[in-house]
């Protein structure tokens, strides 16, 4: 089936992009101009959402995995300092890293994953880097192996009815990068290495591009959000696994939204 803009219909047996059909060509050009103008207008009225996420309450303590690392000498020798799983990376003033901030739903928005640059995840020091990341549906997720040992890359999606598939691929040291992509949105899709079971990472897959992850200073920026009212969600693996919501309005000047996440059970 040919692609037709809305209203063009699918009845004509003549190719829509018929170079001999000057009338259609003109129509095409007009439509393209309109679409371009609309996009430009949208960009002109779009703004960035910025903000900072902080944590209240006692964070989940780090977990020392130095002994686990030694079970594969190839991993153990990569570290001279103690290695820890940092579930909550909390900076100055309670700034919380690794928090996924995203718009809950954006009417008409579609994933730009197919044309977006791949998300690169490395296996370095027998750890996944980054620990938390975001990708769009259809976006390529490239997994590298910078370690002198073999890993298996095992994404374990939960949203299998949406089309996300579990996979498990071996990746020797120096082997070619592995590529994954997921067709359905899913929060905190887990990647794990079973050869080194302390290695795991989470990728939140969205069906639109309006998503970001906080840095060590707890800040985030979601770029080029069309003007309008939205629900913004902040999710953290330990502090807010199912998310904390906030209503915002985005204008051409952008919007600002800070979150204070509270550890479950904290008073």
């Amino acid at each position: 089936m040919q692609y037709c803009p809305a209203g063009a219909g699918l009845i004509s047996s003549r190719p829509f992009f018929d170079p001999k059909n000057k009338k259609n060509m003109k129509l095409n050009q007009t439509l393209a101009l309109v679409a371009g103008f609309a996009a430009a207008l949208q960009l002109a009225t779009a703004g960035n959402i910025t903000g900072k996420v902080t944590l209240k309450g006692t964070p989940t303590p780090d977990r020392d995995i130095s002994d686990d690392m030694k079970t594969d000498s190839n991993c153990g020798k990569l570290h001279t300092e103690p290695v820890k799983i940092r579930y909550c990376i909390v900076g100055e003033g309670g700034a919380l890293a690794d928090t996924v901030v995203m718009l809950k739903s954006v009417p008409g928005a579609k994933s730009t994953g197919a044309s977006a640059a791949p998300l690169v995840m490395d296996q370095k020091g027998c750890e996944y880097v980054p620990y938390v990341a975001v990708a769009q549906t259809g976006q390529k997720i490239v997994v590298k192996n910078s370690d002198p040992t073999l890993h298996n890359v095992h994404p374990s999606p939960v949203n299998t009815t949406g089309g996300n598939k579990e996979d498990n691929k071996a990746q020797a040291s120096g082997a070619a990068d592995l590529t994954f992509e997921f067709p359905a949105a899913e929060n905190f899709l887990k990647f794990v290495c079973n050869v080194h079971p302390w290695m795991f990472a989470y990728i939140t897959v969205t069906d639109h591009p309006y998503v970001a992850v906080t840095g060590k200073d707890g800040t985030f920026t979601i770029k080029d959000v069309p003007a309008g009212k939205y629900t913004l969600v902040a999710m953290h693996r330990k502090a807010a696994a199912t998310g904390v919501e906030k209503e915002i309005e985005v204008t051409a000047a952008g919007a600002k939204a800070d979150f204070e996440l509270t550890m479950p059970g904290a008073k």
Binding site: T60, Y87, L150, N152, K169
Partner: protein, 378 residues
């Protein structure tokens, strides 16, 4: 072909060896699940593209070591079971035992296929079935080791002895309530193992991280906010799935079931506590009754107290599993003692329900024919 049911000492020894090898296989399999490395080898039946038996030892790193060892030991047990089945088929006169060998062969093949499918199909449910079948297979091989023993083939059936003697204590030892208790406890232990396998193969770690309380209470809260709090507070080391309220209830059921099993085995031990021992002069003076007590009661008494010791050990290991945050070695020991508890129950059933060695019917057939002994109640 000359077949007989006695004097196959080497067949018996081989069956015992197969049972021990199966126990070792259970241990390695338990370690694989406890360490969360079941998917460390992504392919099957090959290992990282190599023929399983030619996989270079230099590549047995991290979780691969455990998973690959599990596959090799499983292959060994498969070979042993095949030999045992063929051996039985050739020399054994008891037809039901020959067919038991065939069943064991198909069970070990199925078990291997299930293990492989778990890896390539990514199904936790297959893992649960794989773990359950492992326990049943171990019990089956142990039973076969018993059936091939000289003691089994030469000893007279307890039901016959009971009917030939009127000694009250002998009746009490092997009365129908005791038999039913042994059988019911064995079934409970099996269900307990299925519960345990379900908990382990959901890969969610410890759903409840304290003992004897549960999240600080006698019965833990399972509302969404509480479950979120439990997930936030725990520092899982293996990328475990988030726990759910269902998993919390499962662990509570596992704890309660352990209590019920402890009560059952304690009652059994109490019932048979003085059987099989020359306890008084009057018992000794009665011709035949002493023999009946010794033959019938002594094995059951030893078994009951051994069983009780196993259950206590198992409960201690269960607690230690929690206190150690599911340390792989402790959790695996918990699996193994669970398997031994099941096997002990199965052996108890064999003692209680066996027929005369002259009787060619299988022990299973005897279950349907055990009439309760008159005048005895628990």
């Amino acid at each position: 072909m000359n077949r007989s049911s006695v004097n196959h000492i080497w067949l018996h020894r081989f069956a015992v060896f197969t049972a021990l090898a199966t126990l070792a296989l259970l241990a390695v399999g338990g370690v694989v699940t406890s360490k969360g490395v079941g998917m460390a080898v992504p392919d099957w039946p090959n290992t990282y593209g190599y023929n399983m038996f030619l996989f270079p030892p230099s590549k047995w790193v991290g979780g691969i070591f455990y998973e690959h060892t599990h596959r090799l030991v499983a292959s060994g047990v498969g070979l042993l079971t095949t030999i045992l089945a063929v051996w039985l088929w050739i020399v054994e006169s008891r037809r039901w035992l020959r067919w038991l060998g065939v069943i064991a062969f198909f069970a070990v093949v199925l078990q291997g296929v299930l293990g492989g499918l778990r890896v390539v199909l990514f199904k936790d449910e297959i893992g649960i079935f794989h773990a359950t079948l492992a326990q049943l297979f171990f019990a089956l091989v142990c039973a076969m080791a018993v059936f091939t023993s000289r003691r089994w083939t030469e000893r007279r059936a307890p039901s016959r002895l009971v009917s030939e003697n009127t000694n009250h204590r002998a009746e009490a030892v092997l009365g129908a309530p005791v038999r039913r208790l042994v059988l019911a406890t064995t079934v409970l232990i099996f269900l307990q193992l299925v519960l345990g396998a379900t908990m382990r193969h959901q890969h969610a770690g410890l759903a409840i991280s304290d003992f004897p309380l549960a999240h600080g209470k006698l019965w833990p809260a399972t509302d969404a906010a509480s479950v979120a709090r439990y997930n936030s507070n725990r520092a899982e080391v293996t990328g475990a799935n988030p726990i759910t309220s269902v998993q919390i209830v499962l662990q509570m059921a596992h704890r309660l079931m352990a209590l019920v099993i402890l009560v059952c085995v304690s009652v059994l031990a109490w019932r048979v506590r003085s059987s099989g021992a020359p306890s008084n002069a009057s018992a000794r003076s009665k011709n035949g009754s002493q023999r009946a007590e010794t033959v019938l009661g002594a094995p059951l008494r030893r078994l009951a107290f051994g069983w009780l010791a196993l259950i206590f050990t198992q409960i201690a290991l269960g607690a230690w599993t929690i206190w150690s945050n599911k340390a792989a070695d402790v959790a695996t020991a918990h699996v193994l003692v669970g398997a031994l508890s099941l096997v002990t129950g199965v052996l108890g059933c064999l003692i209680c329900f066996r027929r005369s060695p002259q009787d060619e019917r299988s022990p299973v057939a005897a279950f349907s024919e055990t009439a309760p002994v008159h005048g005895v109640s628990v």
